[in-house]
């Protein structure tokens, strides 16, 4: 009896899993983001920008009927893999997009590319993906992890900061950030802390920093980490030490950090005041629709549907022509919020990086202000390791 039941269930499962409509030339897009837990603020920027972009494309990316599948990876690689498997096997998506965390990206990448599905990372920029583990089907609308801290390293070197203390979470992106920073910063390193991913309280690390007595701190403390760190930095009375950071003070965290961040510096490929038509359109529409300011997580993600749109239009909506779609994406022929850019051979953008300062404007609003270019048309450090025959 039991065996028979099992067989019946097995058959039923097979029927249910059969591709319902894989051949109908409908565009299916997966979005994997971090939508719960302390880092959900980053995922919210990503998801909101994604929805906005698709809405602005009239709900038809590339002129095709578009269906979106959204998944919350909870910042966990294993959950990310489950979502990716579900999206490629059950939902039959042609693109998997999003992904906040580099460790999630590294786990998800082979699942997606093995299934002959495109992967567009709109945040995570794990260095192996830019180098040895690059793939013809992986594109980035963000950056390689090292690029932004490279700009910060150059900035601090140019400004003559004598020595620093480095702090970052202990995972792929944290290590990439420090590697990138040290590639251009040649001053003294007074100390370094790699904290665990579940950490929320930085009091002990702050004591450590003060005792080391550096002129400045270089930090990579995205989202909730940045909020805790800068608040506690101020509460510990450490304002004499200058705070430089990447992905830590931005529109996602500034309202929660408040005055504690004013006067600190960061670097980035984008700022809300960049003078490009697509950027103006994006910032205005985003503020209007959601009532808050977009951060870089939103800007990067906003580009992805437009990239896909340009490629699908180039092949006249023929989703089966994956080579054609890939070639079209490599041209980056779409209006980007960062202005026109080119893809490198590893599908990472070659782009400008800017110096950004946290300021308080006349109305008391705390925001990032663009203070000029640090790097022009900056290439990442790994593209030569990437052997793509293109």
């Amino acid at each position: 009896m039991k065996t028979r039941l099992a067989i019946v269930l097995g058959v039923a499962a097979c029927v249910a899993a059969a591709p319902a409509s894989a051949q109908d030339n409908k565009l299916r897009l997966g979005l994997i983001s971090t939508l719960s837990g302390p880092q959900a603020i980053l995922g919210k920027h990503m998801k909101d920008a994604w929805d906005l972009a698709i809405e602005m494309l009239g709900g038809k990316v590339g002129g095709l009927e578009t269906e979106v599948f959204v998944g919350d990876d909870q910042a966990k690689p294993d959950v990310g893999v489950q979502l990716a498997e579900r999206m490629v096997k059950r939902d039959h998506v042609q693109f998997v997009d999003g992904i906040i965390f580099s460790n999630v990206l590294l786990a998800v990448a082979p699942v997606v590319t093995d299934a002959n599905v495109f992967l567009i990372t709109t945040n995570a920029g794990a260095s192996p993906i830019a180098g040895k583990q690059c793939n013809k089907d992986i594109f980035s609308t963000s950056w390689n992890n090292d690029q932004t801290p490279e700009a910060m390293g150059k900035l601090m070197q140019d400004e003559g900061v004598k020595n620093v203390y480095e702090i970052a979470p202990n995972y792929q992106a944290g290590k990439d950030m420090i590697t990138g920073f040290e590639r251009y910063y040649k001053g003294g390193i007074r100390g370094q802390t790699l904290f665990k991913l579940t950490q929320q309280d930085f009091q002990a690390e702050l004591s450590q920093i003060r005792s080391a007595g550096p002129d400045a701190v270089f930090g990579f403390l995205p989202g909730a980490w940045g909020i805790s760190f800068f608040k506690q930095f101020q509460a510990a009375g450490m304002n004499k030490i200058k705070a430089y950071s990447v992905f830590s003070v931005d529109e996602a965290t500034l309202s929660a950090i408040g005055d504690a961040a004013v006067g600190s510096y960061t670097t980035g490929f984008w700022s809300h005041d960049l003078d490009f038509p697509q950027n103006k359109k994006f910032v205005e529409a985003f503020r209007k629709k959601y009532g808050y300011d977009p951060a870089n997580y939103a800007a990067q993600t906003f580009d992805a549907p437009f990239l896909i749109d340009s490629a699908i239009r180039a092949v006249k909506g023929n989703l089966a022509d994956r080579d054609g779609i890939r070639k079209a994406m490599e041209k980056a022929n779409f209006p980007s919020v960062r202005g026109p850019f080119k893809y490198n051979t590893n599908h990472v953008p070659i782009q400008n990086f800017y110096k950004l300062e946290v300021v308080k404007d006349a109305s008391g609003k705390i925001m990032l202000k663009n203070r000029g270019i640090v790097f022009k048309d900056h290439k990442d450090a790994y593209y030569k390791e990437c052997k793509l025959a293109s």
């Binding site: 939508l35 719960s36 837990g37 302390p38 959900a40 603020i41 919210k44 919350d72 202990n170 100390g191 370094q192 802390t193 790699l194 904290f195 665990k196 579940t198 929320q200 309280d201 009091q203 002990a204 690390e205 004591s207 450590q208 003060r210 005792s211 909730a224 909020i227 805790s228 608040k231 506690q232 509460a235 510990a236 009375g237 450490m238 929660a256």
Partner: protein, 307 residues
């Protein structure tokens, strides 16, 4: 490490230890006296944090949050005990673990539904935002000193409650020989509800105070729960004194280890190896401590249970 820094890190360790004590005191009472494994104890900590953050957001008064959170947690604890915990007393530990694990899932989803998936950030209470220089050259945040102070006061209160009052006597009696207390005509059921409520309040206070220094989020209780179990195993199940000593021990060892091991390893091995092994070794430290304590004292530092 220079002595001033070591002193400051010890202070940080004590502050962390005080949190652990508030969570593990309730856990050790419930486990020791009621012989009940309550995995949902961390959820009560989380609920306390959410109550606190909500009241603070609405009223802007931390004092009011304290006044409201304590009875709210007591109520939550008592209702939880009456509805789900009480029927589980006669069942074995496996059933209790399964049921209270279910409660963890329930609470995590419940706060997600009520407060949303994103974490709440609670500002430091007004008037406690500054810092004082108790160690020269190292200003220390006032709020953290308040945490230490409150924790020590609660420890003193528990000490007096356990050693000087009738209910304390019953709790001690219950921890060492439960059937005998029942045989002597004490209403055990009633006592259990009180103890469970007390544990809920302590966890809730810890959650409330953690709000401004940590992020208030679904699932925040589990990490604390694991540490709390380490604490009660080291301290001896059922012993408040054990929980107190073990909490401070775990707090200090974890903080000092986390900050000094990577630096120490740097001296011995290459920089890269130290950066990889250091954080890993530091996070294992308290479990190594637990194993060592159990090797020499299998029932913990202050074993309360005798029969």
């Amino acid at each position: 490490m220079d002595p001033l820094l070591a002193l400051e890190q010890t202070l940080n360790g004590i502050q962390f230890g005080v949190f652990l004590f508030l969570v593990s005191a309730g856990l050790t009472l419930v486990f020791g006296i009621m012989n009940f494994v309550n995995l949902a104890h961390g959820s009560l900590y989380m609920v306390g944090a959410y109550y606190g953050a909500t009241v603070y957001q609405i009223t802007g008064s931390f004092l009011l949050a304290v006044v409201i959170v304590i009875p709210a947690c007591l109520l939550t604890g008592i209702v939880l005990e009456l509805i789900t915990i009480r029927p589980l007393y006669p069942r074995d530990h496996l059933d209790q673990v399964l049921a209270t694990f279910g409660l963890i899932l329930f609470f995590n989803e419940a706060v997600r539904m009520l407060w949303g998936p994103a974490a709440l950030f609670m500002p430091q209470p007004e008037g406690l935002t500054g810092h004082v220089e108790i160690i020269s050259g190292a200003p220390y945040p006032v709020y953290r000193l308040v945490i230490i102070g409150v924790g020590l006061l609660i420890a003193l209160f528990l000490y007096l409650l356990i050693t000087k009052t009738r209910i304390g006597m019953l709790i001690r009696a219950g921890a060492s020989n439960r059937p005998m207390v029942g045989a002597l005509g004490v209403n055990i059921t009633n006592l259990f509800t009180k103890v469970f409520g007390l544990g809920a309040v302590l966890a809730g206070i810890a959650g409330l105070m953690a709000g401004p220094v940590l992020t208030v989020q679904s699932g925040m209780g589990e990490e604390m729960l694991i540490l709390a179990f380490v604490v009660i195993v080291i301290g001896g199940v059922g012993s408040i004194r054990g929980a107190f000593v073990a909490s401070l021990l775990v707090g200090i060892v974890d903080t000092l280890g986390r900050t000094s091991i990577p630096a120490l390893l740097n001296v011995v091995v290459s920089h890269n190896a130290a950066q990889t092994a250091g954080p890993a070794l530091a996070s294992m430290l308290i479990y190594i401590l637990m194993a060592a304590v159990l090797f020499f004292r299998p029932s913990g530092l202050f074993a309360a249970r005798t029969g």
